[in-house]
Each structure stands twice: as structure tokens, then as C-alpha cells.
Symmetry: C2
Subunit: 347 residues, 2 copies
DNA sequence: ATGAAAGCGCTAACAG
DNA sequence: CTGTTAGCGCTTTCAT
């Protein structure tokens, strides 16, 4: 054990040149077996460990990638990040995580991470990039891949949120609901998340497809927390001509709707149907019907894609669209009127 | 804009030496104002950006720290990590996140992260370290701080889990419960988390303090997921001589108990009281009484502590104990028998 | 105040 | 197969 043992010392002790030691370390085949043993022995005896910085500088690669994530504490984000870390670890990359909560943070990070020799690549989660930002990164020779976000010319993995919004809404419509509300989140000034507006588009499309006129008063927004959603939902459900069903753009928002319903004494799904989006862990717990998207897998695919980029391998698909799936649990049912009509018919 | 502009080119263009350019970049005061302007102008014109690796190597510091986290997707972990990232970002450190799910991963990471010039410091979350591991890291000149984990001689921030377990149990006992169960998680082979065993110790101490004999059959374990906990809780509650209350060692486990109760048709808190631990976001949502620990803050304190270590500042406290607080919501109430006795008295 | 030069520790091309 | 040497790009004495 020795502090600060350098390759030269190992070479000298083993009676070889530094080149040979380097070859041994990096598993080059062009080293006689005896020599290798001797070097290895000295390395162990001296407790030598190569300097990461030095080898990275010589190699011209940091063997690290950064991931830009908005709101790390959201379960959906953590799930994606989990997938990313898994493959990056397996591929031997360090993963620098940058939590982003404001547009300034996003831009600052995006800029700084493009510094020479800072990271080999960047994975951006959910945050839409402007063309020039993406180009700046790539022009700097830094690999770039987007997850849950879109930008032409940049490798990306995403889901069809319009289809997802349609899926959720159509489920409610098929059940017989005619007053279906939409609960989205407020636009985080400047962050420009695109997923939720797209889900809203899907909602409108489904309505139109069913010949139902869009009621702007049934579209609400709240901050992205259970409490905030509950508050907004309380107003919505307590107002005049309330909906019999609501499509909440994320499971977290749906939780708020559920809480509001309970507080108002509404039984779900008897008095109110609710469908969410994402299928985070708690969704199953509260038996929420929801649109499931492969969160962890999106992270894995994105990370794999980045690894390809970094190895200069051809990216298999510039744009990978992951499947969405409606998971029906017990937060959705036909509206009371329909159910009663059914009874009447039967009777 | 130029790809690969190096400091020498800037120096040449500005008609100065590289030393001067370096001084300008790093804000050294010993540069004439005119010179500084000229250099700055050239830097901008050429689009020069210093190489992170090169400066780090010269400086002998990576300006990066690693954080070892077990099970990133657990809400409590994400909350802590969020706190860590916040202060590290503010302090200008990159944060490499290493997710750890097995003892081998933990040991491998701990070993590799101690490579020279890999990171300046390591923050370990919840994972207990053996003395020799901690010493190896520190001996390698890498800063080390523990969060939610204990190890003499290492700066750390934690809570008193024994006291927490006592707090939760005493609350139930004070309510009049006499059959109080404990639900912990299975020992993750080799990971050796210590928090939950300590909470169990607090539970036993509270029982003893109330003169109640410990019933081993009331102590159960499950994997750390809502589903698994629900399964175990179902057996517990459906068995002979079931408890009237359960202290679940984490909120996630408590969720399982709640789910099991509902499935069995037990009303909470009328037929069963439940108290959890952590106070993660969902706890409020399901109105779970719980022992709150400052999750995000623990991360912040830990990160701050690490920053002190890295700056060779004296660490204010080797061992910071954060406060615990009982949050009573509506998952706890007196047991039915007691409530009825009370009624009788009144009547 | 500023230029020249010696590292920081390793990799890789080149010669042998 | 292996030793030597020239970088990788920046910081920092040490002179001037």
C-alpha cells in the first residue's frame, strides 16, 4: 500500500518501461506472459491504481455521461432514471445527474455540460430542446439523446401522448360518460413540457370522434402535486354541471382527484370515474385505471441509444416509440345514469 | 466558434503567454485590465472553452463527488438525493449517482470510486460501511460522509431510529392498544440496513415500558414493496388473535397494511390502527399517521458536510442527529374495545 | 504584470 | 514483445 504510486514507479520497480505497464493495465495482448505476471505482482505489491483523470485526458474521453432530469422526486422520473443508471453502470459509464427545476438551470447545465472533456454524452429527460441548443451540444462533439421529449435530428425515445390521451378518454366515453373533464398541470414557465398538452390534444380528438362538443370549463390545471390537484378537483367537482368522469394527465394528479372525491363524499367509480397516466407504483395501490407507459424501459432504451452514439455505432432508430397500454382497474365504471338506464331496461 | 481551440491558440492570438490566459480565466487579480479585456475578447471571438479534464488534472481535483444510493426508486431515497443534488449544484460539484442493489455492487463501487482522481468525495446513503471500507476510502484521500447510516470516525447525519420506533409504538399504546404488531422488511442479504432493526428495538422498548410482553408472532417481515407488505399483512390480520394496531417500519410497508385491511373489510382506524415511518408524499394522501424524518434535509446536511470536508474546513459536528416528529393523521385511533368501554362509562 | 517552462499521470505511436 | 518519447491541455512556480 502506498499513496501516490504512479505508473513510472511501477515500471521502475518491475524493471520495465511505462508502456509495458500501461499495456498490462489495459489488457493489451502484446505482452509476454512472464512480463505480465511480474508487472501485475508489482502493481499489487505497491497498491498501484491508475489515475482516472490522467488516463481520461490521454484517451480524450471522460467515460462519463450526464443526465438532465426535471423534478427528480417525481416517481415517474425516478423510474426512468433507474433504468438509465442500470445500463450506464453495465456499460461502464459514470452518470452525472443534474436536477433541473427552472429554465435557467436547464440552459446553464446544457451549456456547461458541453464544455470540452466534461462528459462524453448527455441524456435529456422530458425537457424539450430548441434546435440550436441541440445543435450546440452535438457540434461540441458531445453525444445527445432525448427521452420523453422530441426534437428532429436528435436520437430519441418517446411515447405517443396524443394516442395516450385518446386511449384514456375513449375508455371513459366507451363506458358511456358524456361529461368528461381533463386535469392537466400548469405550464411550468419556460420549461415547456410537451407531454401533457399532447394528452390534452388526444382528449379533444376523442371527444370530437364521439361527437361531443368540447367544454373549456371542463379543462383545469393545477400544480403538479396531489394537494394542488385535490384543490382544483374540488372546485371542478363541486361546481355546477360537474363531470361524471375525469382524465387526469398524470397519476399524481389523479391521486388528487381521488382525494377530492373522497372529501366530497363521492364514491369512485360509482359517482365519478377517474383515469390517470403513467402507472406509477401507487396507481395499483389505489386501484387507479390508467394509461401505462414503460418508464424504466424508456430510460434503458435511451441509455442504450446514447451508448451506441458514443461508440459511433449506427443508431438503430432515430426515433423509438414505446407502446402505451390502458390498464383498467376499479376507478372507472359507467356513469350512474347509464347504469340506471341499464337497470331499467333489464327490469 | 472553433472546434478544439486550445489555450495556446488564444494566447498566440491575443499576443500573450498561456499563463496570462490562464490567469484571466481563473480570475487572478494580477493581470492588467487592458490585457484582461484583450484576452477576454479573443476568448469570445474564438469560442474558447477550457478542457475540464486538463484543468482538473493540473489542479489535482475532479470537482465531482459520488453518491451511493440503495434503491433509487424508493421515494425516501429520491427525496434525500434531491437534497444532495441541490447543495452540490450550488457548490459547483458534479454529482455521480451510483445506484446499488446488491452488496457486491456496493463493494465494487466503493472500491472503484476510491481510484485516484476519480471523485473528490463520496456520500453514502443508508448503507452501513465496515470500518475497513471507510478507512480505505479516507486513506485514499477521498472525502467521505454518511447519511442515514452510522460508522464511528466518519462524519454522518442520521436520526435516532430507536427513539422513532418508540415514538410510533408509544402513540399506539397511549391510544389503548395492547396487541401491537410490527412489520419490518426482510434483511436484504448482506446490505445490512440498520434503520429498521433499530425501529424494532424502539418498538420492543416501548412495549416493555408499558409492561406488555413481547409476542414474537406479532413481528413480521416482507419485501419492501406495497404488494409484498399487503400479502404479509393479510396473513397477520387474518390469523388467530390478530393485533388491533400495527407499526409498519416504513410508509411503503404501511401502505401494504392499509391495502390488506381494506381487502379484509377492516375499517381504519376503527378496526385497525396503522402508523408508518418517513412521511413520504403519499402518506399525507392516505392520511397515514407516521413518524416524520427530514428526508430532503438529511441529504442537504450530508452534502454540506462533505463540502466542508473537501475544503478542509473543520466539520462542525461529526455526528448530526436530525429530529423526528410524530405526525398524527387519521389512521390511528383507540381500539374498538377501549372506545366501547369509554362509551359505556359515558352512558 | 507577464512569459517560459516544468509538471499533472497516463496512452500510443514509433523504433527496435 | 518492449522501451522511449511525444503528446493530452491546463496551472503554476520562477524569473524578469
Amino acid at each position: 500500500m502506498g499513496r501516490g504510486v504512479k505508473i513510472a514507479e511501477v515500471a521502475a520497480t518491475a524493471g520495465v518501461g511505462v508502456g509495458t505497464v500501461s499495456r498490462v493495465i489495459n489488457g493489451s495482448s502484446h505482452v509476454r506472459d512472464g512480463t505480465r505476471q511480474r508487472v501485475l505482482e508489482v502493481i499489487n505489491r505497491l497498491g498501484y491504481r491508475p489515475s482516472r483523470l490522467a488516463s481520461s485526458l490521454a484517451l480524450g474521453s471522460t467515460r462519463a455521461v450526464a443526465v438532465l432530469v426535471p423534478f427528480l422526486t417525481r416517481p415517474s422520473v425516478a423510474a426512468r432514471l433507474n433504468g438509465i443508471l442500470g445500463v450506464l453502470d453495465a456499460e461502464g459509464y459514470d452518470c452525472i445527474v443534474c436536477n433541473v427545476e427552472t429554465p435557467e438551470q436547464r440552459d446553464r447545465n446544457l451549456h456547461n455540460l458541453a464544455d470540452p472533456h466534461r462528459v462524453d454524452g448527455i441524456l435529456v429527460l422530458s425537457l424539450p430542446l430548441r434546435r440550436h441548443q441541440a445543435e450546440a451540444v452535438m457540434a461540441a462533439g458531445v453525444g445527445l439523446v432525448l427521452v420523453d421529449s422530441d426534437c428532429a435530428g436528435v436520437p430519441r425515445v418517446l411515447v405517443d401522448n396524443v394516442a395516450g390521451g385518446h386511449l384514456a378518454t375513449a375508455h371513459l366515453l366507451d363506458l358511456g360518460h358524456r361529461q368528461v373533464a381533463f386535469l392537466g398541470d400548469i405550464t411550468y414557465k419556460g420549461m415547456g413540457f410537451r407531454s401533457i398538452p399532447r394528452r390534452l390534444a388526444g382528449y379533444r380528438r376523442a371527444l370530437a370522434g364521439a361527437g361531443i362538443t368540447f367544454r373549456p370549463d371542463l379543462v383545469r390545471r393545477s400544480r403538479h402535486s396531489v394537494d394542488a390537484a385535490a384543490e382544483v378537483a374540488t372546485q371542478l367537482l363541486g361546481g355546477r354541471d360537474p363531470p361524471t368522469a375525469v382524465f387526469a394527465a398524470t397519476d399524481t394528479l389523479a391521486m388528487g382527484v381521488l382525494a377530492a372525491a373522497e372529501a366530497l363524499g363521492l364514491l369512485v367509480p360509482r359517482d365519478l370515474s377517474v383515469v390517470g397516466f403513467d402507472d406509477i407504483d401507487v396507481a395499483a395501490m389505489v386501484k387507479l385505471s390508467t394509461v401505462r407507459q414503460p418508464l424504466q424501459r424508456s430510460g434503458e432504451e435511451g441509455a442504450r441509444k446514447l451508448c451506441s452514439v458514443l461508440r459511433d455505432l449506427p443508431v438503430r432508430a432515430m426515433r423509438t416509440v414505446l407502446p402505451l397500454e390502458l390498464v383498467v382497474r376499479s376507478s372507472t365504471a359507467p356513469p350512474l345514469v347509464t347504469a340506471m338506464a341499464g337497470l331499467r331496461e333489464v327490469g
